[in-house]
Subunit: 385 residues, 2 copies
């Protein structure tokens, strides 16, 4: 197996792109990544996307985007793992390069959700849950997270306002990210006043419906060494799964798929939680951030929210999360999110994160989650000296 | 890179499975494949599927099927490449094993289309075409094939009835396949009387809307040698792409993506067209069979239909195609088809094809096509002595 590096990154601003289709968004991101990498050809294109069929009537994104990008003929497929599609696509690209079946590959995550604001998007997102046993009962995705959050508050004695630091931190970091959807100042007071969506999940607990695309170029580390950027290698790439339906789990408040995925990643990279300098986690909802911190070994069970209350998740805290705004402030174009997270970790490890730079960041972890913890993809990136 | 073998195969009967959901169909096929292989655990699950979101409101099939199959925790993703999704999933599984990132993996193709017979399926299938430039104009998938067939007849001077041998051969072979959807006798006369769908494409030119699942287990060849079955290795695995919209091609009657995919496969396997003992091609429509034979080098341009008229495509002909019924008679549950083709080639190479056995079959080729030739995945399998 070969060591694989990320040699190029690109992203579009996340937002409501009424003037751009799926292929245009993907193009903007992948052209930026290829330019950043200094490559004009690739051996494969792996597209992460969840909802193109349901929301824009277009499947077959691999060939479609390859052609539009001037890469006609190249191997190209779409990978889907619900909201984890982006990192799942990266995983497939990583496998191809690590195994020696390809040298330079492009991974693009893209999602266009705002053409159908309203009930159609809610129904589409519910396809990440179990259609027969959850969605068909009328439980939307935000409602599932509300059930988890309510249970967590009950089990561990937290109040609603204790979750505020997740939103405050994400939006503070998003302020300095030009690609973020939101540039707003969130305080504990504004969090307390935020509109309720599915009690206890309010608007600031939630990531937005939006459009966006992000891309990375992968290549063997020896090739990366010939390029001007600091070399960032993929020290670990791991997928763990769990039941899709939450009621089938041993404990709804333990993300076993995440624990498995992170454990595999730590093993591969030969690191422990304390070695991680920043953690781009899947804060689609505040409760998911708390559960992810616990599954990754940064907090004991029931202590994820306490960790946030103690200020440990900020840029200068013990485990900086959502360093460029996270899913809440940068935005969560679902199939693209996993690739945005990787782009941001690379920015941090290259020292290109500007005002949000985590000092001396050398090892960063990104975790993308499909459904309520059913597919969890963890990548650990390391700056090679 | 390691040599990869197919150590287990499984399939459900293709048909209208009103009593089985997606996960049940997948389970039946994968359990059969795992039993055939004699394995109880796998390192990864790659699911080929195109339409689960649109037709059953369920994405996230990787984790869903993994859990239902008792494989909770395992790496699992869904791969989509329109009607080529099944073979694209096989390609991802192959890459993982060949590159040494996994030892034993499961590939499942599954599709459930009959819950929504009628316009919804037609619209869903059109997602394989270009949503912005083809489908939005009202061109259905069968209409695109009708345009190609009409043009082919015009260019090369064929009559409608000249296409009959494709249907006659497929249905003759399907008669002996217990997993085929149709067991009907088709003659040139019944072909001439078949209901027209989109002139000149008639009912017997077309593959049916149906449900089904097929599965294979992959492992390194050295592991395969310890098992009781004849060893069938994957001698080539290649994807080629072309424009999704047909009007963007240099010549609509030349499948450049297929030519590219086949060329790559011949190179990898070190074989030429005359070495291929049987060819499971993508006969979703008769015109696609003719164009595929030409792109693969079995017939000159414009001679694919002549080849069929000359009897060269039958079980005892020069290039046996659709040996177990093909997409027309076995059926075309779109995301599953590419895996069914592989299962059938393995049956032939193991000598388990019963009344349809191609004598002394040693090298078989399978080609799965997404869209009207936009994503083409070719696999060459070889019986290892």
């Amino acid at each position: 197996m070969r060591d694989v590096a990320i040699i190029g990154i690109g992203q579009t601003k996340v937002g409501e792109h009424w003037d751009l289709g799926l292929r245009h968004l993907a193009l903007e991101a992948l052209q930026a990544a290829m330019k950043d990498a200094g490559v004009e050809r690739v051996d494969g294109l792996y597209v992460g996307n969840m909802l193109s069929g349901e929301l824009t009537g277009q499947e077959h994104l691999g060939a479609l985007i390859a052609d539009f990008a001037g890469l006609r003929g190249v191997e190209a497929v779409k990978i889907e793992a619900a909201c984890g599609s982006g990192a799942a696509a990266l995983r497939m690209g990583y496998v191809a390069v690590a195994g020696g079946l390809a040298d330079v590959v492009l991974v693009v995550g893209v999602e266009k959700m705002t053409d159908y604001l309203g009930p159609k998007v809610t129904a589409a997102l519910a396809m990440a849950a179990d259609a027969d046993y959850e969605a068909s009962q009328g439980v939307s995705f935000v409602a599932l997270n509300a059930l988890l959050m309510r249970r967590y508050m009950h089990e561990f004695g937290y109040r609603k306002e204790d979750f505020a630091p997740f939103a405050v931190n994400a939006h503070a970091n998003g302020m300095n990210n030009p690609y973020a959807m939101f540039h707003i100042n969130v305080t504990p007071e504004s969090y307390a006043r935020a509109a309720m969506i599915a009690d206890p999940v309010n608007l600031l607990d939630s990531s937005p419906v939006c459009d966006g695309a992000a891309a990375v170029v992968l290549a063997p580390v020896e090739l990366a060494r010939q390029l001007p950027h600091p070399v960032v290698r993929i020290a670990a790439s791991a997928i763990g799964t769990d039941t899709v339906a939450i009621h089938d789990r041993r404990d709804p408040l333990t993300l076993e798929g995440a624990a498995l995925s992170v454990h595999r990643a730590y093993q591969q990279a030969g690191v422990r939680p304390e070695d991680i300098d920043l953690f781009e986690l899947h804060d689609a909802f505040s409760i998911m951030a708390a559960l992810s911190l616990e599954a990754a070994g940064f907090a004991e069970k029931g202590k994820g929210v306490q960790m946030a209350l103690d200020g440990e998740i900020t840029l200068h805290g013990r485990v900086p999360i959502a360093t460029m705004g996270g899913l809440k402030a940068r935005g969560h174009p679902v199939g693209a999110t996993g690739v945005y997270q990787i782009v941001e970790v690379v920015q941090q490890l290259r020292g290109e994160a500007g005002a949000n730079q985590v000092p001396n960041a050398r090892i960063g972890m990104a975790q993308n989650i499909g459904g309520s913890g059913a597919t969890v993809i963890t990548h650990i990136l390391e700056r090679v000296e």
